[in-house]
Symmetry: C2
Subunit: 502 residues, 2 copies
């Protein structure tokens, strides 16, 4: 064969192969179009039952269901007894666990000792707002009742309404399947921070869907008149973003009108409880600054045959380094994990230092009050404790801040500790003025000792909770099933665990 | 033309173009080989005069010479008056500037008030070791005299020997041009840390060449017998790496035999002066962990015609973001700089907090001594101050730690401040025991106030230094020129600036 004929044959062969490949890609694209057609789950309204989305979105549903595998209860008050002191007088001193999968969001809210043991719809320590980030039923009830109405009354009032855990309808439109914000307060907060909602990009939405819940909030007392013409006050979940997204800006926001979540039971400090400001802290980190969204790492794309879909098994990317981190970072999994591990160790070191000093400061302040310290003497101490606790809580309350923004987290912990130490410094002087030298705060090195100092009667709280779970909870579920709001089967096989024995 | 002929013509054309390109690359490679042949600068010994390397290495020399453009004096004691307090009783409280280019390494060492104003070879506050990182004459003198001999006597003894600034022979072999370690103490230190020198890679060398000077060190008292049979004690530069490369490991090393650089003039604390542990901190940062060397960012490759060479204008990569950072980071220069700026702000915030508390602690400790505090009372305070100051100094003494390892730097500053605060806390109690309540440390918010508290007589020091520069320094230069160790011209045009008027 001549050289020219040889080249011709090779060229024609190459063209044939490429044509075949092109056709194959085109077939797969057609397949993909059909699969990505965003089928309608229900013609009208919000479908809160996650399992009803399965037929239309089997891959997304099945991967969401895997969040049930994240089922370990880690009792953080046991791990860090300081927490019981830091939150003395507030629900978190009773019970605080590391987060589990979305599948358990509702169960954990019902099980936690913080939500108490109501005996009827108007009983219990918590307002309805405490359901807000736990269930797909929340946007449904808001749509049905109105937002202020939803945010009115006791937590127990909605026990038979809020029955499905965080899932599809929290982020997706039931008719179109598209990403949407189901919580109106996020839209309001973004607008208060100067955003123009029509300019929000799809990539923004891949973080904002998460920011609906993974953000700092407080319950804003909001007076309104209900449909019957009665004056009511709603406890509306509100994001304090008016002055900016940083810890400093939000502290200024809260201070500008003297807001406090509670008064500390030992030091009498009016405190702000930071509530998982995950989105805000993420914004200060390098991944956000380089244009990534929450979903890029927590919902990496997966391939099933010719279908690409985002994994709805929301979890730490460290559980799936190969599909998330390593798509950008060219590194071995072991090397990668070692680097992340170091970030966690640094945070843990500064966190323990800050918690310990802050805990001692609260107890030393109590001693000062006991010895007759005056309001005037204590004012600068309380101002420091308020600020210290805000910075500390802000830096650790969100999931994974040590990774989302390691530098910002270390900075906040350092500032928090400095303020706690400033307070302790003043307290030594105040105690000396009242004749007390060399005071040592009592030991709070175990959960038992710390909860005793914080006046937490754990056995009583557990007993009441178990009574609630035997008596009222089954009624809620029964009513919800009867009303068609709950498919009883979905709970089957779910292990009902908490920080206390069932 | 038939289709088959057309394909044939195109194919042949492509082959012709590729052949031409291949030949062109090959020509340029030959050119490169000639240019990269590492010519010999001098047949024997070490050539300390940088300008003698110019003929053989014109691009490297010319870019090194550009370090002269980094000529700004920034008086850091003026910027942070806390420094005068923190280093009270030690040379750095007199004079401490931000670093300038390598070109000025020697001039700045001669000009700083820390090296004093000797009147002859056996006079002055400093040992010969203080020349060690300032000049290419150091490896030459070590080769000629012996290492222990070099490290013996006063700084002024070698004034007419050490006359060329940091340059070629510090990192390169005069005969082969190859990278080499010219300081034997680095080799010893690496071996003490378990390194096997024959396994050191070229990429390692691209950091180790810098680590010869940009590392933590102390002067180890080393007895020896000189050539005349006299007992001598050398002050040998030694890297404390035996227990590891972290701040904690080195602290343990120093504590293991009660080492201190000096005793603080106010608090009487036996302190360790951290000395630019740049290499060690770099090792804890992400760029090192991803396999980068110092030279990758500080000496980016440049192209001149067909010649690729590494830029010897050693400076902050922020001055040349396009050639250094952006070769890996796909980002706009402005975005990139904004992110780095934030890292610096975080470090500055924690640095000021730590310096201020540490400064107050030293002054409060002085007050406690003045009020009759006992050694036993003060022991825990001094232990905390020693450790605090070590962590603080370690975190900021090296150039650019805020960038090389932002998380480690913030962690160290946080720990440093916590220890300073612990000390202050104890001091309030001790002062109260001695009847002093509400003590406020004196104001050290300006360089003048702080240096007065630190007993620094600046006008006297400047006057003496200027006398030294008028009288002894010209003699040194003259002798060096006469002996052929210094080409007088190289200093011409150099602006002779310092933190005080000339």
């Amino acid at each position: 064969m001549k050289k020219s004929s040889f080249i011709l044959v090779i060229s024609l062969l190459a063209i044939a192969v490429m044509t075949y490949m092109l056709l194959s890609i085109s077939t797969k694209k057609q397949e993909q179009v059909v699969l990505n057609a965003n089928p309608v789950v229900k013609a009208e309204g919000i479908e809160s039952k996650n399992e009803e989305w399965r037929d239309a979105y089997p891959r997304q549903y099945d991967s969401w269901k895997k969040t049930a595998q994240s089922d370990k209860i880690e009792d953080l008050v046991k791990k860090y007894p300081q927490l019981a002191i830091l939150w003395a007088g507030y629900g978190f001193s009773k019970d605080y666990n590391a987060p589990r999968g979305h599948f358990y969001a509702l169960q954990d809210n019902i099980n936690t000792l913080r939500t108490g043991a109501p005996t009827g719809p108007d009983d219990g320590p918590m307002p309805t707002a405490c359901w807000t980030c736990k269930s797909t039923d929340v946007p449904r009830v808001i749509a049905e009742e109105g937002e202020n109405e939803y945010f009115t009354g006791k937590w127990a009032r909605l026990g038979n309404q809020i029955v499905n855990p965080i899932g599809c309808a929290d982020c997706h439109n039931t008719q179109t399947g598209e990403l949407q914000l189901s919580r109106p307060y996020l839209t309001r907060a973004l607008e208060s921070a100067g955003w123009v909602m029509k300019d929000v990009s799809y990539q923004d939405m891949r973080s904002l869907a998460c920011a609906q819940c993974h953000s700092e909030y407080y319950f804003k007392k909001t007076p309104y008149t209900d449909k019957e013409g009665n004056k009511q006050v709603a406890n509306v979940v509100t994001f304090p973003w008016e002055k900016g997204f940083t810890a400093e800006a939000m502290e200024e926001y809260y201070n500008s009108y003297g807001f406090s979540d509670w008064t500390h039971a030992l030091s009498r400090t009016p405190l702000i409880k930071a509530q998982h400001p995950g989105y805000e802290i993420f914004r200060t980190g390098i991944h956000f600054k380089r244009g990534l969204s929450c979903a890029d790492c927590h919902m990496p794309y997966k391939q099933e045959g010719s279908v690409k879909f985002s994994d709805h098994n929301l979890q730490s990317p460290l559980n799936d380094v190969a599909n998330s981190c390593l798509t950008c970072h060219r590194q071995s999994e072991a090397e990668f994990k070692a680097i992340v591990e170091e970030k966690l160790e640094r945070k843990n070191q500064l966190n323990v230092i800050a918690m310990t000093n802050l805990g001692k400061a609260h107890l030393e302040a109590k001693k000062a009050w006991d010895e007759g310290a005056t309001e005037a003497e204590m004012a600068p101490v309380l101002a420091l404790l308020r600020s210290s606790q805000w910075f500390w809580d802000y830096s650790i309350a969100s999931h994974g801040s040590f990774f989302h923004a390691p530098e910002e987290t270390l900075r906040l912990l350092a500032v928090a500790n400095d303020k706690a130490q400033q307070a302790r410094n003043l307290l030594v002087g105040i105690l000396a003025q009242h004749g007390v030298l060399n005071y040592e705060a009592p030991d709070f090195s175990t959960k038992e000792k710390a909860q005793e100092l914080a006046n937490v009667n754990l056995p009583k709280l557990v007993e009441e909770k178990l009574r609630f779970k035997r008596e009222l909870l089954p009624q809620w579920d029964e009513e919800a099933v009867k009303a068609g709001r709950l498919n009883k089967e979905w709970k089957e096989g779910m292990s009902d665990t908490a920080s206390y024995p069932q």
